[in-house]
Amino acid sequence: MAESKHQYAFFLGCIAPNRYPGCESAAIKTSAKVGIELLPLKGAGCCPAPGAFGSIDLNVFYALAARNLVLAEQMNMDITLICNGCYKSIWEVNHILKHNDELRDGVNEVLKEVDMEFKGTIDVWHLAELYYDPKICGVDKLAASVTRPLTGTKIAVHYGCHLMKPGKERHFGDTENPMWIDELVEALGAEAVQYRNKMQCCGAGGGVRGYDLTHSLDITNEKLINVTEVGADAITEVCPFCQLQYDRGQIEIQEKFGKTYGIPVLHFNELLGLAQGMSPQELALDLHGIDCKPFLEKIL
């Protein structure tokens, strides 16, 4: 195993550790193979959920996210995470508080009650962008870590919303037709297929999944139609909440709309784990709502 040069505090969030633990263990193991070490961020909580909390009271949203950031500041370590929702909370609040003195003072007044202070000394990264960054890993190094190429499979990439949008405030470039995660997928030997309305939302965000499930699933259903149209063997994403929406959502769509898709949904880290030789058991793929077997049969 390569010696770890790059250490990060691993912010878990909620859905990865508590619903899809395979995402968590895959992130730790796959990143170790390219020289990234993930250390536990002890005592972290919910990011907090940007839709649910941000909709009710943005001040609580800022303060709770700042608490998580301070835990990493105390470790003197940048944060990495594997969920777009967490990225919106943790990255964005870090960014806002670094650049808005008034908000930072307000947050720090509250944090004083719990003996904390936001200093703005660390950065926040999505693990996928670290994989893409040649200074940390890069596509070539990622490709070199592959021992079981996903040759002959067609993968539809779902980028999700809160990682790259709003594009003006982020640093990922084009948000209408991005290709960088497609490049990561192709590094694993798979074909990244292009489909209609690739950047459309999965339908889960903003509290809509909890508020109006049918409405939310109808958005998911449109994506599933577009993905099926190009014959994708699996969907990959970088957000456990999108994963939940596509994976459990397909079962709910079957119940509510009577439509069956059966498309396996894998987090990019799970996909990378498979390509690096991890077994489906090591990735807890049996916890997925949609059976991954049709996809696994193509690569195992």
Partner: protein
């Protein structure tokens, strides 16, 4: 000389003759409140509709983000905050990315939701998340099926978050209590008989 159109409906004709929208039910401060919370230039909206055209919720509901932008500018606070469509935005930020005036309509919606909450207007699923985070630190807490799955993977049964370190819970609770969020969530749910 042009003849006047006649629909045979005096009420409608009075409305059509009125070239200005008069309503006493506006709050002139509403736009400023929205701008303050959203930190976006909501008054710059010229109603082009790119936002609604980009919106994944628009084709499957009566939710129109452009309408909410107009309500903001006109100060139609009650109309905006009482409309159940306010909660159909998935916050995907497509409208924000495409707005030709560099407004963030998504953040306008978030601000309106914040303002609605001040009047106790809020769907109950949002309040339940508050209660979960207050008691466990997580919006989606662990369960026994997941604990044994974690164990099989060689992970700790509970993740190294507040689940494993409950001594961090009072910090989270103090922050939420500072804003009286749990108190309000409990009260609103109790009033609804939840």
């Amino acid at each position: 000389m042009a003849t006047e159109k006649n629909y045979g409906n005096p009420e409608l004709e009075a409305k059509l003759r009125d070239r200005y929208l008069y309503t006493n039910d506006t709050n002139p401060e509403f736009l400023n409140d929205v701008k303050k919370v959203s930190r976006t230039i909501a008054h710059m909206c010229f109603q082009c509709g790119t936002c609604t055209g980009s919106c994944p919720s628009a084709p499957r509901s009566s939710y129109r983000i452009r309408l909410f932008m107009r309500r903001g500018v006109l100060g139609l606070e009650k109309e905006a905050l009482n409309d159940p469509d306010l909660w159909l935005c998935t916050t995907c930020y497509s409208c924000t990315d495409r707005c030709p005036r560099d407004i963030a309509p998504t953040d306008v919606i978030m601000a309106m939701r914040n303002l609605a909450f001040k009047y106790d207007i809020v769907p109950r699923n949002f309040l339940k998340t508050v209660q979960l985070i207050y008691t466990t630190g997580h919006g989606v807490p662990n369960n026994d099926v997941n604990r044994s799955a974690r164990e099989k993977l060689g992970l700790s049964r509970d993740p190294p978050t507040t689940h494993s370190y409950p001594e961090f819970m009072p910090g989270i609770q103090k922050i939420i209590d500072h804003y009286k969020l749990k108190e309000n969530a409990d009260r609103i749910l109790a009033e609804e008989g939840q």
